[in-house]
Symmetry: D2
Subunit: 344 residues, 4 copies
């Protein structure tokens, strides 16, 4: 632990995720949570009080008051990363940006340009890489002892609760924007390859009838740079009786080996009088210490290490740009009915 | 049982499947197995003796000796249905043709023409329709109480044993020709819709290196006539350590309901000193009676009913033609890299 | 089919199970359903009309009107087999008696004596033996290639729906009487051994509080005649949200092999808006023919074969007596707190 | 982290577990690994060099050289805890003793007496309590919102690899001594109750024939202090083809709720050319930091907290004594064929 300097970090966006990141920073001895940014006044006041740090209405105000920050976590809604990220980068801060980097290639390119011009680093928060199920498979695949990837199939679905009740901005998103950044990032990481072309199809019927005019389900077929194939399926209309709000199953097939990775079932099924569910352990509070634990916490800890000078292989802004371009190409293919090239 | 007339049936092709169909006919009291056709002399002699019926080297010889047949089962290899089917149809026989109807649209059209000109009926042997797991889901979906189908995902894979050891003619086939007729037929039947366009991708690397120059894995994305989407994934390179030689999982998502249909696990797992396996009950001999049981036997029994005058809704030659055209379109899309229209 | 004589059979008890057995007899060409016995007048009239056969209020009346019966199916409630079985046996009829043979050793001995004095045969309806999952494992174990049985663990539970809503007579039964005859019969059959001693424990708290004064759950540990061990666990208080009304998992461990047999999950999971369930295929109507199918139907067909002279190895009255004695010993051990010997 | 005093700890026994505990202490900033004890000279020299701390041949030598220790981890073989634990306790050290506390009640009582006379604290290493699957269920059960426990069934088995290849001292142990301390501790913790009586049965046939004269499988039925029932089944003869070396499934049934806890399947299944396996994540090295993670590491961290003055509810020596008495009673019942009382 010797030689650690103290990362001084702000969190932009104090919703569920932003608050969690703030707490993760507060519990990390190598970091200091300096301040928050949150446009909503009641939320801002509440969170500032809970966490005991100043909170500002916008990034400009933040930067005005704090000229000694070393990093920022961008946890604004998916479509609202650009302004915060560009300003923080321009101020010389290293960034942790929630996935996806942006929901348009234009925004993603603007962030990338700002990061590269400022010479800062930006990590994109593809947190599943910190899930040991995936990281162990990645480690095994990287050894090449099981051959190269032939083909991956990833089903990542949500119950209809997510677009109809959980997200206020579902109509501006889609199962592709909300879910496929995860499954595509993992597919790229596992195969060590990038997508070069995509063909997508979808259905738009159930959610529009429920007042959410977006896609019910999207399927996308990618050709990868190593000539392997990746199929991503994501739906937003699964029944709410499913034992978990998300349904995630990923398969990797190599020359000699098949991996079946099930993320939703935790191993603990509880049947109550009226429903069955899988207990979820994604992020939890360690009972004795009160510390948060789980994959996003590990991600924040790695971001702090980066801020403190470590060389870690994390998903960077160029990678985030590729994912955004790819998901944009999914929507382009949905519109055109044709395969779409994904530019590097 | 009153009023049943006796179906008089020949089986063309006396391999594993043909012999099974012949036994199924012999155990059906409403049918008579009249004769067999088998080009290989040793197989012909052996099976003729085992079953106690005459066996001929070709269909012409069969028809010469037996002018009172009412039906024929065509169980020649996948690519060799045409000649047998056309001759038998022309002779006025109703047909049960193994799936796929043919492996070229040209052959499938020739069989269809022969059947329609002769005014006979032809059933295509999509035997999974007799699997109660699928037939019950079909019955429930047909009631429309769960809404319409939004999207189906069907993974039907084989271990590498199938193309490298089980099939002598794997290089002339593919995971698409061998497996997708099953999953596509089921998807059509469950949604009550036909495919109108397909986009496919595949990988060709592992099997060619093993001396079998065909596709390792194929994924195909179909737009259906009801605007639902069907994704079929089929691989031929799964490891032989899998607990079953095939790996089959089908998902159907409707407006309100999700069905997850797992075909490979039987519910009985056996672990021996050296391997784990799922016991398989596809076709088995009933212990007391020695009678064959299972889905293909039920299919033959229904074919006999048809021969004896019943009106049953069975997959007909036009349906078989559509499936063949669709799988041909899968291969066309693999070649062109573009979505391909499927003509009705 | 030649040489088959016609079994002439009556069904005593026209509840859910009795009606099903009656239909099974009517659809079997080697049997004739001659008449029914049912004490409840409205049920009797309804079922007589539905099935088109005469129905009587009691066995005496039945025997008075029909002196040419060859067999009877005893489908009265569990505790009410004795009188019907004894009278039918005394009249020279072969019997199929629902499991358990009786719910007291005294009743079971009276039936056994009547059967043996009359020189008739009696089959006890342990229908799981007709479940191919068990019969295949039994066949494999009987070959001894996997060594002998070391130890079996069988969990067979019901949701609380069964004792509180489905059965009117649950207070006169228990999870041991209702469920363990199945799991014990299978354990005996799989190991080819009989129980020689049992120790049992149970809990009585939840069901009494719900107004059903019987055991919530019972566990029983048997020493078998081959020195293997069988553990049976049965509960009647599982939550009604479980995907199936029963929960059945049986494990067999031999010298070299483990079998895990899961009966409840069918392979088809359906998630609706409000609940998840496993489709059940226990007894179903074959769509085309309208014929009943399933394990109890196969059992009835075998009983008909027996009536028509076949030699089939079926669970007989002595076996049924052993099972009843064993379950009675379970309750004796629950009362005494000591292991109880089971007399042969 | 302020105010933490430094725990100064020795590890007694430098086998697989002892080395892991030593590394866990070295990576904990609130602890110092002072020294090791290991009787085997080559192991002692190797581990001393790897860890960079002095290593002694026995506890006396350790205590002679280090009079400022605050705690000791006892990781000698199961049957060899007594001497080390008693000496360290007498020297005023707080202890973490691997489970089971001892393999005879006499030894366990001697350790308990030494601990209580010295006024030190002793934690017994029932590490599954640090498994979040169990700790979350425990937390939910403790809230009493799901009612009280009715009945638990715990299957915890090993493949035959464990007694025949992994353990040199299997003949001095049994599946009861090796596995049931885990499942009994969990059952006690989940129900918040202690065992008052046990009845056990077992089989001794396969392992003796393989040269390991101990029990193949043991089943034990406990009456608990709250009148709930616990059934533990443990076998040591499962086939080595199982996807994990251990097979662990625990069920808890309460008034209203059922928990099914599966520990062996991790969610990631890998099929290679020759076998299927579940990846295991029990203890793993965090890739970036090189730090060990997993439930035993969390346990050591809690022990360090205890050493540094925290009040934590950990399994203490009295609890360890009860578990040892209970497992001894299992063996007494195996010998007597009678239920055995477990004294508090």
């Amino acid at each position: 632990m010797a030689g650690r300097v103290g990362a001084r970090v702000a969190v932009v966006g104090a919703g569920i995720r932003g608050s969690m990141f703030a707490r993760a920073l507060q519990q990390n001895p190598a970091a200091e949570l300096v301040a928050l940014v949150e446009p909503s006044e009641p939320t801002r006041d509440r969170v500032a009080q809970e966490l005991g740090v100043p909170a500002y209405a916008d990034v400009a105000e933040l930067l005005e008051h704090h000229d000694d920050l070393t990093g920022a976590v961008i946890a604004t809604p998916d479509f609202a990363h650009r302004d915060a990220a560009v300003r923080c980068a321009a101020a010389g801060l290293d960034l942790l940006v929630e996935k996806p980097l942006a929901t348009t290639t234009e925004d993603a390119e603007a962030i990338t340009a700002a990061v590269e011009e400022a010479g800062v680093r930006a990590v994109v928060g593809f947190e599943n890489r910190w899930n040991e199920k995936f990281s162990e498979v990645r480690r095994q695949l990287a050894s090449k002892e099981h051959g190269r990837v032939v083909h991956q199939v990833s089903n990542l679905n949500d119950t209809v609760f997510v677009p109809t009740e959980m997200l206020s901005w579902a109509a501006d998103s889609s199962p592709a924007w909300f879910l496929m950044p995860h499954s595509l990032d993992l597919s790229m990481w596992l195969a060590d390859a990038v997508p070069v072309e995509v063909f997508a199809r979808g259905v738009q019927r159930v959610l529009p009838a429920l007042g959410v005019p977006t896609w019910d389900a999207v399927t996308a077929s990618f050709r990868m740079s190593d000539d392997s194939v990746v199929v991503l399926n994501s739906s937003w209309v699964l029944p709410t009786s499913m034992p978990s709000v998300f349904d995630f199953r990923h398969e990797v097939h190599t020359d000699t080996t098949t991996y079946q990775i099930e993320i939703s079932p935790s191993g603990v099924t509880r049947y109550d009088a009226d429903r069955g569910s899988w207990l979820q352990f994604g992020v939890h509070t360690h009972e004795r210490t009160g510390r948060l634990r789980g994959v996003p916490i590990d991600m924040v800890d790695d971001f702090v290490e980066l801020l403190n000078g470590a060389e870690i292989d994390l998903p960077d802004v160029r990678h985030g740009l590729t994912v955004t371009r790819s998901i944009e190409a999914v929507h382009a293919s949905l519109a055109s009915g044709q395969p779409e090239t994904i530019t590097a």
